[in-house]
């Protein structure tokens, strides 16, 4: 192994050096200068994000345990932008609430560690690395969910999260052990060639799938979602629903389309049913929510159902549409959570009722929110429409007409509740509207990036072509 082949792990090495640098900086910075940690972390991560877009070779390291290709590289870039936006959006909250308690740096350390776990997870070449990546991406988030430890709900959210995550990863590990027992190897390459659909393999696959389904909060495993999102700090709810879910969906896609392809006749109907259940449950529950975080939680469950729609196909078109949709979803949800974050960190209000009359006091914020919700619902001018449209095309191309029809029904339902928020903001005149406020520059930048992402993905079509080209790697 040559030294420069380590460059393949550029993302990971850079991010880990940032973690170490921040750790050391935290030691040596005097107590009254802690606010500069936020700027430092943002600058570091900004550089990391920018460097991440430099082209990277294809290949695998450590005897196939770590692999990278252009698609994985691209997706890491997307995750980077997402996390960067998220950091920008949470800078204000950190500075205002957390620094006083001497807990600013830990936020970055834990978040970056979790992101590092996702890198390792999506470029894993064997089940061991996959599992460790999964753990590394989950554990720090539990600590982050308890970040506002003085709030009771925050601690509760963390406990709920860690318990369900532990169960899920245990189940998943059991499944992996069965796959290992039947195939005698943990490397994806080896398993791909020996995997056959015996009873034990199927059992292993189902258990393994359950663990990942927990991460994406597919329906039978979604119970933690709303409670955790509501209790955790908004940044973390946003992280869970955007970055964590995106990465998990991506790795699920890779695994299903490559390693577990021999079991396609099993997972196809499974995903079919789960997609329907997830969409309907998410959408129907979202109808009744009053708290914005819970509302977004259920909406994100419903979105996960749409992701499955693309996964069912198992073709290159499916890969491309899933990645495209997930990318759009990341930006749209980031915008929505960003607005909730901006309002909450200024006024502490999180209920839908509080948003009434927002347009009169804060027109820019409500415009951003409207765009984000339109994108989530899939209304033409913004990217979300194309994302859903392509997904439906992919599903229809494999002949799943009924599934597409039911998905369209779901889009209609979701449109209703997204419009409820928009109605509250634009048409209602609240009794006690949120007063006008100016966000800090970081927040503005964060929202700007999210909106630009949504618009660019929707209006600039070469991006989709680029993703389609990349997705040839997995079929």
């Amino acid at each position: 192994m040559e030294l420069n082949s380590f460059l393949l792990m550029r993302h990971e090495i850079l991010l880990f050096s940032i973690i170490l640098l921040l750790l050391i900086a935290e030691l040596f910075l005097p107590r009254n200068k802690k606010s500069s940690m936020i700027h430092l972390a943002l600058v570091f991560f900004g550089i990391h994000t920018a460097v991440g877009f430099l082209p990277l070779a294809e290949g695998s390291l450590f005897g196939g345990m770590f692999r990278s290709n252009e698609m994985i590289h691209f997706f890491k870039g997307v995750l980077n932008i997402g996390v960067f936006t998220l950091l920008l959006q949470s800078a204000q909250w950190l500075e205002k609430n957390m620094l006083k308690q001497d807990r600013g740096t830990e936020f970055f350390l834990l978040l970056f560690a979790s992101l590092l776990g996702m890198y390792f997870m999506i470029s894993a070449g064997d089940f061991l690395m996959f599992y460790i990546g999964l753990e590394l991406s989950t554990l720090p988030v539990a600590a982050l969910a308890a970040f506002e430890i003085m709030k009771r709900e925050s601690g509760e959210a963390a406990v709920k999260f860690i318990l369900s995550a532990a169960l899920a990863s245990g189940v998943s590990l059991f499944g992996i052990s069965m796959l290992y027992a039947t195939n005698g190897s943990i490397y994806f390459e080896d398993i791909m060639s020996t995997l056959t659909a015996t009873n034990l393999t199927l059992l292993g696959f189902i258990l393994f799938f359950a663990g990942l389904a927990f991460k994406i909060s597919l329906v039978p495993f979604h119970f933690w979602t709303a409670d955790v999102y509501q209790g955790a700090p908004i940044s973390i709810a946003s992280y869970l629903s955007v970055i964590s879910k995106g990465a998990a969906a991506f790795i699920l896609m890779i695994l299903l389309f490559t390693v577990l392809k021999p079991l396609m006749h099993v997972w196809e109907p499974l995903l079919y049913i789960l997609a329907l259940a997830t969409m309907f449950t998410g959408n129907l529950f979202a109808l009744r929510q009053q708290n914005m975080k819970r509302f977004l939680a259920y909406s994100s469950i419903a979105q996960a159902g749409f992701i499955l729609l693309g996964l069912v196909t198992g073709t290159q078109l499916g890969t491309a549409t899933v990645v495209y949709f997930v990318t759009i979803y990341i930006f749209s949800n980031l915008a929505a959570f960003g607005v909730v974050q901006a309002i909450s960190s200024q006024t502490g209000k999180e209920n839908m009722k509080d948003y009434e009359g927002l347009y009169r006091t804060n027109p820019k914020l409500s415009l951003v929110m409207m765009l984000a919700l339109f994108s989530l619902a899939g209304i033409p001018p913004v990217a979300g429409f194309f994302g859903k449209f392509f997904l439906f095309t992919a599903a229809a191309s494999k002949g799943y007409y009924l599934l597409v029809f039911l998905a369209v029904v779901n889009v209609t339902i979701s449109l209703y509740y997204y419009l409820l928020v928009i109605r509250a903001m634009f048409l209602r005149k609240g009794e006690n509207p949120i007063p006008f406020f100016k966000s800090k520059i970081y927040m503005k930048l964060g929202l700007f990036i999210a909106v630009m992402g949504m618009l660019a993905l929707g209006l600039y079509s070469p991006l989709y072509d680029y993703i389609y080209e990349l997705s040839a790697a997995f079929n």
Partner: protein, 201 residues
Amino acid sequence: MEKVIFYLLAIIMVASAIASVSSRRMLRSVVYLLFVLIGAAGLYFLMDYNFLAAIQLTVYAGGIVVLIIFSVLLIQHIEMELEIAKSSRRWFSALLCLMGLSIFLGTIYSHPFAVAETTSTTTVAEIGRALLSFEKGGFILPFEVISILLLAAMIGAITIAKGGKEIKQEVPESLDIDKILQDAKQQAEEKVMELESSTKN
């Protein structure tokens, strides 16, 4: 001989596992759990996986169980007993567990596993080399990534243990007109008194 020891260990493990989940005293559950873990270590010894057995003893029995006992010592009093679910629920969950168990056992036993012809004792040196090898079959990358995982877990634990103060939402002070008026009045009176005393002198 080996078979006898195996079944002895297995019976101890299963019995302790059942006792562990059904005991109403928390610490007793932990001790039963300890027996399960020690039993597993015994199985490893039986299979000549000495290193793994010792790891099982140090990490699980000596490390994790001690930590669990510690936290039980901190939060539980000796006279406290865990709640017991309604009997209908207990039967229901027992039934579910049995169903799950039968599915798993049925599947595992019906699978035609290939029996290894030769077994060899893994030496510590081999394990060490495998841990540091970066060829196929080497584990250096997971080894390093786990160290990052532990670092992150440590930071997370410190973050939670550090605690924090109550966040006070900055509420703009409401104008208490009465109080302001009263203060002003008091100040004015003091001024007048002062003036009066100074003119007297």
